[in-house]
Structure formats: structure tokens, C-alpha cells
Symmetry: C2
Amino acid sequence: MIGVHTFESYLVEKTAYIEQRLLPALEQQGVPENLYESMKYSLMAGGKRLRPMLVLAVLEALDKPIERGVAFAVALEMIHTYSLIHDDLPAMDDDDLRRGKPTNHKVFGEATAILAGDALLTRAFAYIAEAYMDRTDVSAATTVNLIAELGKRAGATGMVGGQMADIEGESKRLNLDQLEFIHRHKTGDLLIAALRGGGYLAEASEGQMEALTRYGVCIGLAFQIQDDILNVEGDAQELGKAVGSDADREKATYPSLLGLAESKARLDELIAEAKAALADAGIENSALSPLADYVRDRNK
Amino acid sequence: MIGVHTFESYLVEKTAYIEQRLLPALEQQGVPENLYESMKYSLMAGGKRLRPMLVLAVLEALDKPIERGVAFAVALEMIHTYSLIHDDLPAMDDDDLRRGKPTNHKVFGEATAILAGDALLTRAFAYIAEAYMDRTDVSAATTVNLIAELGKRAGATGMVGGQMADIEGESKRLNLDQLEFIHRHKTGDLLIAALRGGGYLAEASEGQMEALTRYGVCIGLAFQIQDDILNVEGDAQELGKAVGSDADREKATYPSLLGLAESKARLDELIAEAKAALADAGIENSALSPLADYVRDRNK
């Protein structure tokens, strides 16, 4: 079991490992300079790098080299980044600040922000295809599985569908089921893609794939509950964005529907269930355990 | 050689064949209704279906079953459609009309239009992966090649890069090289992806791949020159959009840079070169020949 102190070093080390692999994946001949700068600005704007970290943690948990997961991890971060750029647009959430910095369209203009998002999304799939083409330890069939998995979880049945439901929900009074639908897809599906993609790359058994999926569903909801709690109790400085904004907008959140105490209890339950899934698959002694705690205990 | 009359029936038959394959590729469980309607609205809004047609024509030219090309053809049309939805947005070209119908954001609003574009782009890659996974006549390695090719031609180094250059060029006086860069990428690259993708699926030789690429470069530029000519000489009713708008906006076009007569001469040259490429590959007696003429002779 990885201790708290060790896990902090683990996060620092893995974040650095991932960050240094992001930019090389963007570098290509013939990209208009402004477009490249806009893609780079958001991809390199920091963040927890949770999705890439999950890919690497699955490989470690199943005793496979993490290097094998890098291209998929980078692609996930590109997709996560594009979704933030598009979500921040004036026609969507109209946010000026992201991670304490001006949002992409504030710096580069709306047209470039839309195109940078499109280009990051496209590059994610191309990069998986290109990178694994050259590796002998990942079969073409696995590469196709990765792309199908990512496409399903990132698109209309997944993340984009969740964002659509979120936007439509803004003008309605949502119940808990509707709120969970939104978060399961908007946030959870890309985490599930990270875990299942890691599973494909590590040649996980069917039982392990199921456990990874269950773990992903739990930490996805937990992630969102903690986000909602931080919007009530968090520190704006740490978060790099305003707090209290959900209540101001009368947005449906876990605290607004369940109350703060009940939300925290639900969060604990989900983390416990995520760990139970790991235990079922015999991979509880891996970084995936403290990563589940981290989803709950983070302050940003 | 396919005659003019026969080619007209060919176009009608192939368009119908493609159109009936588009909608089933969108149907998935769990897509928010409004998002699905928005995706469907633009995907089924008509159009020449030129990119899918090129895929099928390459397979025919190389004596392979066209059924093998359907999933890739459908994916190309999804990507072409998403690019039109995003190009029409207020922050981009701000168009109200496309193919004689209100543009996507005019019907569904900007947020949904952005998400429908994102979802179509994502679905394109997922669909290729899913559809070819189940086919025994297309290897996983070929599927990976298709995705790499499409990603390269559709993204920052291709179509999106061309659109970026186009937007940046609006405020500048462009020369012919700059204009060709824009069109080569904005329009040409996706046509090249169609042809090379067809080539991968048909197990084309290296020489045939080169010829298909050259053919694609030529018809891509030819397509754009004819577009520019139609904006001067075309019929607004047939086109489903306004004519004379390029001149009104003082937009750099082939007619504005070369004059109308010279533009037409350049168009003829490009079509002749496209056909020469086919002859080099021994596939001049295929629908690819009249398709090149069609790019020039179309009135919409």
C-alpha cells in the first residue's frame, strides 16, 4: 500500500512524466502558428492530469510498463482539454477564467478557440493511431479497441451528451437521477475510458475490466460531488475560479439536492465502493487506491 | 469509359446508396434527443456526397467491393458535416443559410451546434473503429491506417489548419500561394483522405497511392476554383446560397487574383492533370474520370 507521503511524491513524479510528453505530441509540420499556440496554451495550462494518471496507474497495477500507456494518456488529456475550451465559450458556459488564467477564447478569440478544440480532438485520435502503429507491444487490434472505447465515451453517448444534458438542465429543476446522468457522462465517461483503455493496454481479464469500469463510475461521481462541495466550501485562490457560483446560478448540485452532510456521506460511500471494486480484481495494492482518496480529498 | 448519361445515373445511384447508410451510423442508445436531432439535421441536409463517392469509386476502380468502403465513407461525411456546422457559426463565417436551409445554429442554437459538431467529429473516428472491427476483409492494421490518415488530413495540419489560415487571411491581401495553401488544406485534404483511405481499403500499390494523392490535390484545387467561379457566375437558386458575396467582401479568390478566363484555364489544366494521374495508375477507365469532370462542370 502506498502511504500518504509516498503518494504525494507519486503524484508529483507522474505529473511531471505526463507533462513532458504532452507538447511533443502536438508538434507537427505545417500547423498555422496561432492555431498551434492556442492548442498549446490550453494543453499546457496545468491541471491534475487525472485521466493520464489513471491510464498509467492501471498499467502499473497489472505489472505492465507505463510507457505503453503514454500515447493513450496524452490523447485523453487532449480530449479533456478540448472539452474545457469549448465548454468555456460564450455560447456555452461563458467563463473568463480557467485554472486562474484567462480562458482560451479570451486570449485567442472565439474562432481560434473553436478550431483549437476541433484540432485537439482530431489530434487525439490520430495520435493514438500513429503512436501505436510503431510499437510492437501493442497490437493493431488493441489500438482499434482504444479508439472505439475513447470515441464512445467522449462523444454523443458520453462526454458530449453529458454536456448537452448539462446545458439543457440549466433552465430546469433537476432531480438526483438527472444530475447523476449529467455527471456520469460529462465527467465519468472520460475517466472510465482512461481506466478501460489502460485495461486494454495491460491485457486485463474480463473481470478486471468490469472492476475498472465500476471503479471509474464511482470515482467519476465522487469527483463531481467533491467539485460541488468545493464550490460551496473551497478556496477560490486554490481553485483558480470563483466559489459560490453554483448557488448564485441556482444550479442543481449534490449539496443543493442532498445537503452538505449527505453529500459528504455519499462521497465516502462511493470511494469505499471504488476500493471494493479494486479488491475484487486483486489490484487494491496499487496507486489506484490512493488515487480514489485523492479524488475525495483534493482541495482544487 | 463511363459516358455522360451513364455517369448521371451513377451519381444518382451512388448518392442514394450513401445516403441510406448515413443515419444508421448515428443511431446509438443514450444520446440526448436535441443533440441527435441537430446532428441528423446537418448530416441529412443533402449535398454532393463527393467524399464518400470518391471512396467507393477507388474501390470500384481497383476491383474491390464498395461495401468495404461504406464505414469510412460515412465517417468522412460526418467530418465534412461537422466542419460546415462549425464554419457557419457566428464566431466563424456567420452564415444563416447552407444548401438553401437555415444553418444548424439558426435552428438549434449555438451551444447545440458546437456540441453537434464535436459529436459528429468524435463519432467519425469511433465509427471507423467499430465498423471495421467486425469485418474480416479489413485488417486492424488497415483500420489504424485509415484513422491516422483521416486524423492527419482533418486536423491542424489539414482541414482545420486550412480553415484557420482562411480566417486569418480575411483581413489580409493574399497572394496566389497563400490562397492555394488555404484551399489545399481546407478543401483538398479531406478529398485526399477519401482517395487514400479508399486506396488503403483496396490494398492499392504504392504507385497507385501516389497517383490517387496527385488526383486528389488536383481535384481539390479544381473544386475550389469552380466554387469561386460559381460565386461570380452561378445561380443563387441552384447553389442554395448568395452569389457575388466574395466580391462584396473583397475576398481573395481565383477570379479576383487571376481573372475569370485565366481561372477557367487553370481549372482545365488541373482536371487534365488529375486524369493523367489516373492514367499513370492504370485506372483511367473508372468513375474517377467523370468525377473529375463533374468537379469542374457542376453548377452547385
